[in-house]
Subunit: 341 residues, 2 copies
DNA sequence: CCAGAGTGCTCATACGTATGAACGTGCAGC
DNA sequence: GCTGCACGTTCATACGTATGAGCACTCTGG
């Protein structure tokens, strides 16, 4: 009942274990067809299957790629957060013949997931790992980097003293282009709705926004820009009476709040105010916001490719990669109202 | 840059490799606290992390569980087919400290996935595997069984000469109870809408239906029951004029067709005909069918448990397990119309 | 008829870990 | 002062594979 080994096959075929190994793993330059046949027949008869652990130990290669998220995957997959990434990851892994390990064993009682648990790094079971998730633990990232472990991170992550290779949705450029296109439609006075989230992805949006505002000589009066995430009454009043004709919101949620707040004052989008969102809007059938599209599936695929590239070229400097985000038109941007011209 | 091994730690701590192994893996009965301290310090200093491959080779245990589907997972996950199963699988694996391997490398050009590819069985990378999917390949299942590989299948699968351990939604009982509850509301004449799918899960539904019909002495006139899956004009006519007051449909799709066919004749559900479906209806906001609920998440969890149980008790006979499905009331069942009494 | 090259295969070893057996030391008991 | 034992540690080995080096043999060309 025990799984047959190469030596069992060898005995049956009347050759040595190394001959079997050569045939099984394709190193057959000096093995005549007839012997190969004999060995293959024996392999088949015994139902021999290579032992992954042994191969691994010997080769340092697994054809196994890890996926680590700092929270459970599937619950979130449903709200589309991880979903498209996984789709791309799975698709690409399948194409190039790798299996995927979902690191689930690393869960702690508080629902977070750790890479290092009592000193063990489960990740090194895989040849390399794609990390993702909003709740990235920077300390662990730093340690992983210092250990020389092979990984890429989806989304930009800045960690002092470590050069994390990332696949980065280009929010800087997307935000810049979004503002630019609003300016082209005549908007000069902008406000920015700040989510309060302190994370690279949001810093990038803010940078892109600021870039465009300055480059084009536009005017900005943003409560969020100065760091207050809430839509206060005062702000809404200011917005209604002030010169602003366009608002750039970081999230759909903020935009929705804004719409409600405006409606309460008898103002509507986009007639009175144009609103664009720096986030993909999904397919939900509500308001069709002018927004951007993060090519998540593509990013998943690229992450796998980056990982494999690094595996094949261990000496090369790891490098991050920007991925462009498209802007999509919705129904929430128009030319500025005449009343404010 | 190379990862430190136990022997490196040992040298630094001034002990032998085996002492390190003992401390690292918790076999410390005869190692005094002071030595442990020294070793732990060395582990920390070098950033030692156990090599998973070597451990696996030595232990024959991986703490890796496989998930194999005969089609790509994620595309289908979205329509909820795999989703809840995966949710349960991930959840339970996390709870008991296992990682998951998604077998993606086994894809073939035709989109199907194979377990055995040029003789190699990738699955044995994991300690055991959960198999699922509509498109189960029975030959591979049989071979896997004969190879003595450890697995469980989600959903009943019958393969000649092999006793596949399955986690089975109890469609037999659910169908029986469904008919029973219809009978309790006064229905005596039934028809059954047959999907034409030849698979155990549907055979079970049919068996349960038939059981109840016979046990309760009810009347059945089912085109589907005799094997024709289509809703023909004749059948609809027969249904409208015949004595039937209740229809049991295998799928939501069939039920929808039926509703449209009836509407075209001016008949409505449930006023003229009660309809219940032997399938979960999901959350879509359309018609709220009387139907059953397959506890998918629970089944995913049970599959993991069954797998682990078999790992821990290799000698015990593998055994399949039935999981009860609840019936949920919708808006498509009523008492029989007076006109047909 | 010998040097040299090529062919078909095997030997031996390393990968990193876990663990039963064994070894040496110190100490208690008689 | 010898026996026996507990303690702390190391030895030696096995897990299954891949591969460079090496061996025996055959053939070719000069």
């Amino acid at each position: 009942m025990k799984a047959p080994r190469q030596s069992d096959v060898a005995r049956l075929a009347g050759v040595s274990q190394s001959a079997v190994s050569r045939v099984v793993s394709g190193d057959i330059d000096r093995i005549p067809a007839e012997t190969q046949e004999r060995i293959r027949a024996a392999v088949k008869e015994l139902g021999y299957v290579p032992n992954a652990a042994a191969r691994n130990l010997r080769n340092k290669r697994n054809r196994l790629l890890g996926v680590h998220t700092f929270e459970a995957v599937f619950p979130h997959a449903r709200d589309d957060f991880y979903f498209e990434f996984l789709l791309g990851i799975e698709e690409r892994a399948e194409e190039i013949g790798y299996d995927l390990v979902l690191f689930t064993s690393t869960g702690t009682s508080d629902g977070r997931r750790r890479i290092y648990r009592d000193g063990t790094n489960r990740l090194n079971l895989a040849d390399g790992t794609v990390l993702l998730g909003a709740a990235t633990d920077r300390e662990e990232l730093a340690r992983l980097w210092h250990d020389g472990y092979l990984f890429v991170h989806i989304g930009r992550r800045e960690v002092a003293g470590a050069e994390i290779p990332c696949i980065i949705p280009d929010y800087v450029s997307a935000a810049d282009r979004l503002v630019t296109s609003l300016a082209e439609r005549g908007h000069r006075h902008f406000a920015y709705l700040h989510s309060g989230i302190e994370q690279e992805a949001y810093a990038d949006r803010r940078a892109g926004y600021r870039n465009a505002i300055e480059r084009l000589g536009l005017h900005d009066r943003s409560p969020g820009f100065r760091g207050e995430p809430e839509l206060t009454e005062e702000w809404l009043v200011g917005m209604a009476s002030g010169p602003e004709t366009a608002v750039v919101a970081e999230t759909i949620g903020l935009a929705e709040q804004l719409r409600i707040g405006l409606a309460a004052r008898g103002l509507s989008i986009p007639a009175d105010l144009s609103v664009a969102v720096l986030e993909g809007s999904g397919d939900e059938s509500g308001q069709r916001w002018d927004c951007l599209v993060v090519p998540r599936k593509e990013i998943g695929r690229l992450a796998i490719d980056a990982l494999v590239a690094r595996m094949e070229n261990p000496d090369e400097e790891p490098v991050s990669r920007l991925v462009a985000c498209e802007l999509v038109a919705g129904e929430t941007v128009a030319v500025p109202p005449q009343s404010k011209e």
